[in-house]
């Protein structure tokens, strides 16, 4: 396991410093806690704040900027940030119109954001939370922690961010966020493991001919381990599960998002996207928008995830709206 770093304890702060140095017009760092803030915050709009463990870059810090997030709170690698970070970040970007927390559904994230929300509410700041849980690889149940938040998070942050940018109220922004979450489904797979810098070795071992299906974004084991198959079969297996889950129906317009886990060459991502596009065409689903690349990653893990979002007219318009962040940019 080789990493580009100086001190293993400093990877997150040094990386944040680099992000801020590279994009001074987009972001600034919070002076006292680890948080990435919009350079022009607070704005006269609902503030959209997210966060979670580091190691998924560009998520979330790379999505801070015009038309997307107002603040991102990065934890240590794969570890939820702490309530003081969300609390301070929210206070720094709240422009009086309230704050929406977009929380990926992990026990740690949910609890830490909840504590921050309680602290803020205690000070009279309007805070709402939406928990993203789009991973069909996880069997859902009332008695468990539910499904993980994965690829759908990126689409949600873009679309919801655009709504807030356009002047949506806190209630509107929250309800859109819930609607998008209810229409988005994802599934991931890995060819290789990632390695948490502080752990110093790969989180899991996979044989030379094996893959892990239903992997999360933290190198946590997936639903099953299988022999490696041709890309087309892998894509079909995953897409089939996704389509069946919502379910997506012939004629639906979708945003098809093929996401790299960080270590997969872009050539392979587009190759897999080709298989996905063919599969969706066969199902009668119409790809109205698409996104291919490394947008929510697991450090150097090789693999990919598929996310499908059932679009409506509002979502399409908000997806197309200008965005200017380190990780996603168009129209500006």
């Amino acid at each position: 396991m080789k990493k580009l770093l100086n001190r293993v304890d400093d990877v997150v702060v040094e990386s944040l410093a680099g992000l801020a140095a590279a994009h001074p017009c987009l972001v600034k760092l919070h002076p006292s806690v680890k948080a990435v803030l919009r350079a022009d915050a607070p704005g006269d709009k609902v503030a959209v704040v997210s966060g979670g463990g580091s190691g998924h870059e560009p998520l979330h810090g790379g999505y801070v900027g015009y038309g997307m997030l107002d603040a991102a709170c990065p934890g240590e690698v794969f570890t939820s940030p702490t309530p003081d970070q969300m609390y301070e970040a929210a206070k720094a970007v709240d422009g009086g119109k309230g704050v929406l927390f977009i929380v990926k559904n992990y026990t740690g994230d949910v609890m830490n954001f909840q504590m921050a929300a309680d602290m803020l509410a205690g000070e009279g700041i309007a805070v709402e939370q939406v928990v993203v849980d789009d991973d069909v690889a996880v069997q859902d149940s009332l008695y468990t922690a539910g499904r993980r938040g994965v690829g759908g998070t990126v689409l949600i942050e873009k679309i919801v961010g655009a709504k807030a940018q356009a002047g949506g109220s806190l209630a509107e922004v929250k309800s859109l966020c819930e609607r998008v979450n209810s229409q988005v489904r994802s599934m991931g797979m890995a060819l290789t493991s990632c390695a948490v810098p502080a752990a110093g070795k790969p989180t899991f071992e996979l044989g030379e001919d094996e893959m892990e299906i239903g992997i999360g974004i933290h190198g946590e084991p997936g639903r099953k381990r299988m022999k490696l198959k041709p890309a087309k079969e892998i894509v079909e297996m995953m897409a089939e599960a996704i389509v069946a889950d919502l379910p997506f129906k012939a004629g639906d317009e979708v945003l098809a998002f093929l996401n790299g886990m960080g270590g997969t060459p872009q050539m392979e991502l587009y190759l897999a996207y080709n298989d996905l596009a063919n599969f969706l065409a066969g199902k009668g689903l119409k790809i109205a928008r698409s996104l291919v690349g490394n947008y929510i990653t697991s450090l150097e893990m090789q693999g990919f995830s598929i996310t499908l979002l059932k679009l409506d007219e509002e979502m399409k318009a908000l997806w197309d709206a200008p965005v200017e962040t380190a990780g996603l940019r168009w129209g500006r």
């Binding site: 463990g53 240590e76 939820s80 609890m111 008695y143 922690a145 752990a199 989180t203 084991p221």
Partner: protein, 213 residues
């Protein structure tokens, strides 16, 4: 036998050392059914606790444990951060004004801490979490208190109960936390958080033994 403020601080330092020594072990356990960070998280948190306690000066145990809780809350992150943070905060409110820890006050405080964890995390017994080792430990402490056992003996029984609870997590299918995403595949592995509970209690027991020796 009781632990005074300095004794409790020593015990917390011992916890920090034990978690540092067991960092890789806990992370290893978390690799199997989680995201390979529990040891790293706990170690980071308790190093911060050590720094904080070294810098502070304290008039009662409530103040000590409040600093511990706040520090863990602000540095551990993940699921274990708010859970352990809450636990120590709750213990702190029970120990406000006290300068010495004896069996009854320890039992009461840890029970309060466990309640905080359950209120926050909503885990039941056998969900394969830290609750599975902390619950029997609390019961052991309460029994020891009702039997009038001294602190060291109380801790001994708590550690043994926690060990059994910890080992009982191995065959379980997780229903809370990150391991629950694995479904059936989570069976056959010991829960990291249940293990850190055991390590924490063991380190406190060590200190209690040294302080009485």
């Amino acid at each position: 036998m009781k632990l005074d403020i300095q004794g409790v601080i020593k015990a917390l330092d011992a916890v920090g050392r034990s978690l540092a020594e067991n960092k890789d072990y806990l992370t290893e356990l978390d690799s199997a059914i989680g995201d390979a960070d529990h040891g790293i998280n706990m170690n980071r948190g308790f190093q911060k606790v050590h720094d904080r306690l070294t810098a502070g000066s304290y008039a009662d145990l409530g103040a000590v444990l409040k600093d511990v809780g706040m520090t863990l809350m602000g540095s551990v992150g993940g699921a274990s951060g708010p859970l352990y943070g809450t636990m120590f905060m709750k213990m702190s409110s029970r120990l406000a004004g006290r300068e010495e820890l004896d069996t009854p006050s320890l039992a009461e405080a840890v029970e309060e801490g466990l309640k905080g964890i359950v209120a926050l995390g909503r885990a039941n017994l056998q969900d394969k979490t830290m609750v599975d080792s902390l619950t029997p430990a609390v019961e052991a402490l309460k029994r020891a208190a009702s039997e009038g056992l001294p602190l060291e003996a109380a801790l001994e029984s708590a550690v043994e109960a926690a060990r059994t609870g910890m080992e009982s997590t191995i065959p379980l299918v997780a229903r809370k936390g990150r391991a629950s995403y694995l479904g059936e595949r989570s069976a056959g592995h010991q829960d990291p958080g249940a293990t850190s509970v055991f390590l924490i209690l063991s380190a406190i027991l060590e200190t209690a033994r040294e302080e009485t020796a």
